[in-house]
């Protein structure tokens, strides 16, 4: 339980950063200030400014909303799709199971980041393509886990009782399957959240993601790359932001998984 709380606290901190980060940003993240371009850290720009004179700290804080907010969105839509597919496979008959699992295999037949690059690139750069690309490539693990747990529930006493009582399939899914799926899906969700953050910044870095001048960590790195010789600090900050978020989410996910494993064993 303590681990579950740790994850909740972490999610709250990240959500808070995404929601309130822009409020504590000292400058306008898109205001161009050519005279003060590539400024060193100082009073006006605590982490310096970029090539257009925009404050790096403010862009990082506003970028949190994009990077983390989109990651929340993408991993949660993927969760919904994956649970639907997984439960259809587990609760439906043999054919439904076969069809759902082969569909999952098709989407797994490709490295997901490369697939996301292709989809986002072909559909045209932009936020909606980005969301679509990362969702389409990010629901399969949920589906597999939901199916696995679902199959193990099928013969459980209360599930049999619910279908004998004549409860409808959606109601059985809602009341008898979903609660049992929550722990393992939370673990998968943390992993997918981290993956989404990496994916968003990777697509941004390739120019297929969130478009400038919107501050986003990956696009910030893309901008900073040109100045690697003159002003290397610029590419340090967004990288630290990505690594710190992904690392803490992964660690929280590990703690959660270990906690659940212990509870399962004890």
């Amino acid at each position: 339980m303590a681990d579950f709380r740790a994850v909740l606290v972490l999610v709250a901190v990240l959500a808070g950063l995404a929601l309130f980060g822009p409020l504590i940003a000292p400058n306008d993240p898109t205001a161009i200030d050519i005279p003060n371009r590539l400024a060193q850290p100082g009073e006006v720009y605590p982490l310096g400014s970029d090539a257009m004179g925009r404050g790096i700290l403010s862009r990082l804080l506003h970028g949190a909303r994009w990077s983390l907010g989109l990651a929340f969105l993408v991993s949660t839509i993927g969760l919904a799709i994956g649970v639907a597919v997984g439960l259809l496979a587990a609760m439906g008959g043999r054919f439904a199971d076969w069809a759902m699992m082969r569909t999952t295999d098709i989407f797994l037949a490709f490295p997901d980041l490369v697939a996301a690059v292709v989809i986002a690139g072909v559909l045209g750069a932009g936020t909606s393509s980005l969301i679509f690309a990362l969702t389409v490539t990010g629901w399969m693990r949920y589906a597999r886990v939901a199916r696995g747990v679902g199959l193990s529930l099928k013969t459980r006493g209360h599930v049999v009782q619910a279908s004998l009582a004549g409860l409808s399939r959606p109601a059985i899914a809602r009341w008898h399957y979903l609660p049992a799926l929550v722990p393992s899906l939370t673990v998968v969700w943390t992993g997918m959240l981290a993956r989404a953050i990496l994916g968003i910044s990777a697509l941004g870095f390739l120019g297929f993601g969130v478009q400038p001048p919107t501050p986003e960590w990956g696009t910030m790195l893309l901008d900073a790359r040109v100045h690697i010789r003159s002003d290397p600090l610029q590419m340090i900050w967004p990288g630290i932001a990505v690594v710190a978020c992904v690392l803490s989410i992964n660690l929280a996910g590990d703690a959660l998984r270990d906690g659940l494993a212990k509870r399962g064993a004890g």
Binding site: H158, V160, L164, H176
Partner: protein, 242 residues
């Protein structure tokens, strides 16, 4: 009345039940006796339509058992309840699933008959005793007044005192409610005390069917004789120890 006619069922690629024919009328109790592996739980599942029969039919008054046509009391009382929900929610599930209103008066009446404190229903299954959970299980089975109730080893998870008490409560409620009961068990004592008729299931076939009184006086088949003899000698042993 329940009629099982020529039922043959497979499970896991093997024929588990062969040509089973049984009948139970309203208010009657049929005890199906058998050792573990005889096909008792498959019989329950096939009767309820959870396992599709290869051959044969299961009908109630000539029609297939529809939604709410039968209820089941399971062997493991607590596993039969959703751990995430209160007992009350699970007990009300059959009513709600069939679009019937929550009947508080009926719950109270059945609780009284089951000697179960209604406040207990607001707890989760793993916070009550096994005996209480099983009585809540019986409550759920009876709540929507199904014409047929199946009991799958309903007492085997309970201790001896609770077994006796629960068996008495089931019989009393049956007198009041008038449902047909099909009880699958290996417990001859229970059958002797509470069943109207007895069927012996062995290796997936019905070996013998008889009114309970006749069965325990003169079991016809050799297998039934050995069962009764074993139970009698055990009973004698129990009496001697006590």
């Amino acid at each position: 009345m329940l009629k099982i006619d020529g039922l043959t069922a497979r499970r896991g690629g093997k024929t588990v039940l062969t040509d089973i024919s049984l009948a139970v009328g309203p208010g009657e109790t049929l005890a199906v006796l058998g050792e573990s592996g005889a096909g008792k739980s498959t019989l329950v599942a096939a009767t309820l339509g959870l396992v599709a029969p290869q051959l044969g039919t299961v009908t109630w008054d000539g029609r297939p058992l529809g939604r709410g046509g039968a209820a089941l009391v399971m062997q493991e009382p607590r596993a039969a309840f959703n751990p995430a929900l209160s007992l009350r929610r699970s007990v009300l599930e059959p009513l709600r699933a069939q679009g019937m209103p929550d009947d508080a008066a009926r719950i109270d009446r059945l609780c009284a008959g089951l000697e179960l404190d209604p406040a207990m229903l607001d707890r989760k299954p793993y916070t009550v005793s096994i005996g209480q959970a099983q009585r809540a299980g019986i409550l759920r089975a009876l709540i929507a007044a199904p014409p047929l109730v199946l009991f799958d080893e309903p007492l085997s998870a309970l201790d001896a005192v609770t077994q006796k008490q629960t068996a008495g409560l089931i019989t009393a409620l049956q007198r009041e409610e008038g449902f047909a009961a099909l009880i699958v068990t290996h417990d001859l004592g229970y059958a002797a005390a509470h069943a109207d008729a007895v069927a012996v299931l062995r290796a997936g076939r019905i070996e013998e069917t008889a009114p309970a009184a006749d069965f325990f006086r003169v079991p016809r088949s050799a297998y039934a004789r050995s069962l009764v003899a074993a139970a009698t000698s055990l009973g004698a042993l129990e009496r001697r120890v006590a």
